[in-house]
């Protein structure tokens, strides 16, 4: 009897281990595939040419693969989206956690979750039909610009930031709130000076996840950003990000060109690694300071 139980335990142990193993294996396979296909072409043309070259002409007779405009494009667009979306997201989370009346909350919460599940191409379409003409008529340029991309990505990262920040704020022990109120602080002062700092690790992780989504967004951006492989010189200039670069050309790229696009993926991967590492460092510091 005991042996049967022990066998069952071992079998289940094995099943769980295999599942975990498969996730790690997929990650390792992706990393190995990208680096083995991307690094050779980077070495052939020179790492500095790839990272800092400003000319992207992969189909010319003497091709040049300068990714700097795309790297800058990704950075600018993500920064802009974060600067617009994160404050709105955190303030919305505060509203939902501390100010929202229950009946409104029952509508708002599913609404935000719905926003998170809308496919990104639908967001892109929405921006193409609504945001692009508004920017073209009231602000300038031809509507397909960095500004459009920043606005759209800000809207797209809102659900991520709101949901996680709200959980983080709600997870702060009520005793903190009661203690602060008991000491004479107002509702607003308590939230911004006591609750929000206490929830900072959760709020920070929501910001990092939002940044991750913004930097990886492809289909929505390709419809509205203009896709010119140039260094953007103004908010209204067109822009191409690392992700849209891949999606625009992958279907017909061949040889060195295809490997250069995989190299674009490698650089993107490195970016995500850096962002996640910063997040882990911050989290560790939070945990050790507890």
């Amino acid at each position: 009897m005991i042996r049967l139980f022990k066998q069952k335990e071992r079998v289940m142990n094995g099943i769980f281990f295999i599942s975990a193993f498969m996730s790690i294996v997929s990650l390792v396979l992706i990393i190995v595939f990208m680096f083995t296909n991307g690094i050779p072409v980077m070495r052939k043309y020179g790492f500095s040419e790839f990272l800092f070259g400003t000319v992207w002409r992969p189909t010319a007779s003497s091709p040049s693969f300068g990714l700097f405009p795309m790297i800058l494009g990704s950075i600018y667009v993500t920064l802009g989206a974060t600067m617009i979306g994160v404050p709105i997201g955190i303030l919305t989370a505060i509203f939902m956690a501390e100010y929202c009346p229950n009946n409104l909350y029952k509508i708002l919460k599913p609404g935000i979750s719905l926003m998170a599940s809308i496919p990104s191409i639908v967001y892109g379409f929405f921006a193409l039909q609504l945001v692009v003409p508004i920017i073209r008529d009231y602000i300038g340029g031809n509507g397909y610009s960095m500004l459009t991309a920043m606005l759209l990505l800000a809207i797209m990262i809102l659900p991520t930031v709101i949901e996680l920040s709200e959980s983080a704020i709600r997870a702060v022990p009520r005793s903190y709130y009661n203690g602060s109120i008991g000491l004479g602080a107002t509702h607003e002062r308590t939230i911004f000076s006591v609750m929000l700092p206490a929830a900072s690790s959760g709020v920070l992780s929501s910001i990092v996840l939002g940044i991750g989504r913004a930097i990886g967004e492809t289909m929505a951006v390709v419809l509205i950003a203009g896709n010119q492989p140039i260094i953007p010189d103004s908010l209204l200039s067109g822009v191409r990000t690392l992700t849209t670069n891949i999606v625009l050309e992958m279907s017909y790229a061949a040889g060195d060109h295809r490997q250069a696009l995989i190299a674009t993926g490698v650089i993107l991967f490195v970016f995500i690694l850096i962002i996640n590492s910063i997040f882990i460092v911050i989290k560790n510091r939070e945990d050790t300071s507890e």
Partner: protein
């Protein structure tokens, strides 16, 4: 905060939004009037587009190495319909598309005094024109071979004329259906796709047991798909270069098509010269008043 006060805030906010939307109706129509001093919003296709390849070759938008030298500030759209939608929505834009796809949503320009029509393309007067090519790899299946000969039949070439393109010589005068069955996978140009859809529909009347799958990610993608075997037939709206030609089993032209320069309907410009097109797409001419 109570439910009542939050609903009041919501109502006030949405109300003010609605008012600004309604109030700006007049500003809206004047904001979309054509201005001479505005920049030309140049629209081009993606790198792998056959239309783009043919266009830059014919108009001379190349550098000293014969490489595509379209100005990097041109907005990139990755399909024929993308260019049409972009031009239809922006009064200061200029783009180029397959002549057969031209419809009422945009206006075609006359080039060097010649209107873009199938007749002027056939006679050679309208110079901005190219072949629709189809390529195939080794080992075409029976259905694909039969479809191939169908495309050069009189019936198919009549479809070419009906759709607004110029036909090529008929090679199979009387197409007889042999009731083949199978799957045909066709990949390639967004310009050729409407014609190919019309062919597929007519072909399926003769051979209802054949399934034809058509996708249009662009000419370059179509040629690559034939080379690596993932497509039976590739559609290209440009000529194949030497490297590509050695890697496919064969290539033939099924139609001739013009490339129309298109602008928004409210744009007063009606004709343009080849030099002006070249200068605009090289980035030397930047505002609309330089094109009058």
């Amino acid at each position: 905060m109570t439910l009542k006060s939050s609903v009041t805030w919501l109502a006030l906010f949405s109300g003010s939004l609605l008012l600004t939307a309604c109030g700006n109706e007049e500003a809206d129509s004047s904001a979309s009037a054509f201005e001479d001093t505005s920049d030309i919003h140049v629209i081009t296709r993606e790198d792998g587009s056959g239309t783009r390849g043919a266009f830059v070759e014919i108009t001379g938008v190349v550098d000293e190495n014969e490489d595509d030298n379209t100005t990097p500030t041109a907005t990139v759209q990755n399909s024929t319909s993308g260019v049409m939608q972009a031009v239809a929505g922006d009064i200061h834009s200029l783009g180029y598309i397959s002549l057969g796809s031209l419809d009422e949503s945009v206006a075609g320009l006359a080039v060097d005094g010649i209107e873009p029509t199938p007749e002027t393309v056939a006679s050679g007067e309208y110079q901005v024109a190219r072949n629709f090519n189809i390529t195939y790899g080794e080992n075409l299946n029976e259905a694909a071979q039969d479809f191939y000969s169908f495309m050069f039949s009189e019936e198919a070439q009549n479809i070419v004329e009906e759709q607004g393109y110029v036909s090529v010589d008929v090679q199979t005068p009387e197409y007889k259906s042999e009731e083949v069955s199978g799957e045909i996978n066709i990949v390639g140009s967004t310009s050729v796709e409407p014609l190919m859809q019309a062919f597929a529909e007519a072909y399926k009347e003769h051979n209802p047991n054949v399934t034809i799958d058509i996708t249009a990610p662009g000419s370059g993608a179509g040629i690559t798909a034939v080379i690596d075997g993932s497509a039976d037939i590739g559609m290209a709206s440009r000529e194949l270069d030497e490297e590509e030609a050695t890697q496919v089993a064969g290539v033939d032209a099924i139609a001739v098509d013009g490339i129309a320069l298109i602008v928004h309907h409210d744009n007063p410009l009606e004709e343009i010269t080849l030099e002006q097109i070249q200068s605009i797409y090289l980035g030397d001419t930047t505002t609309w008043d330089e094109v009058q």
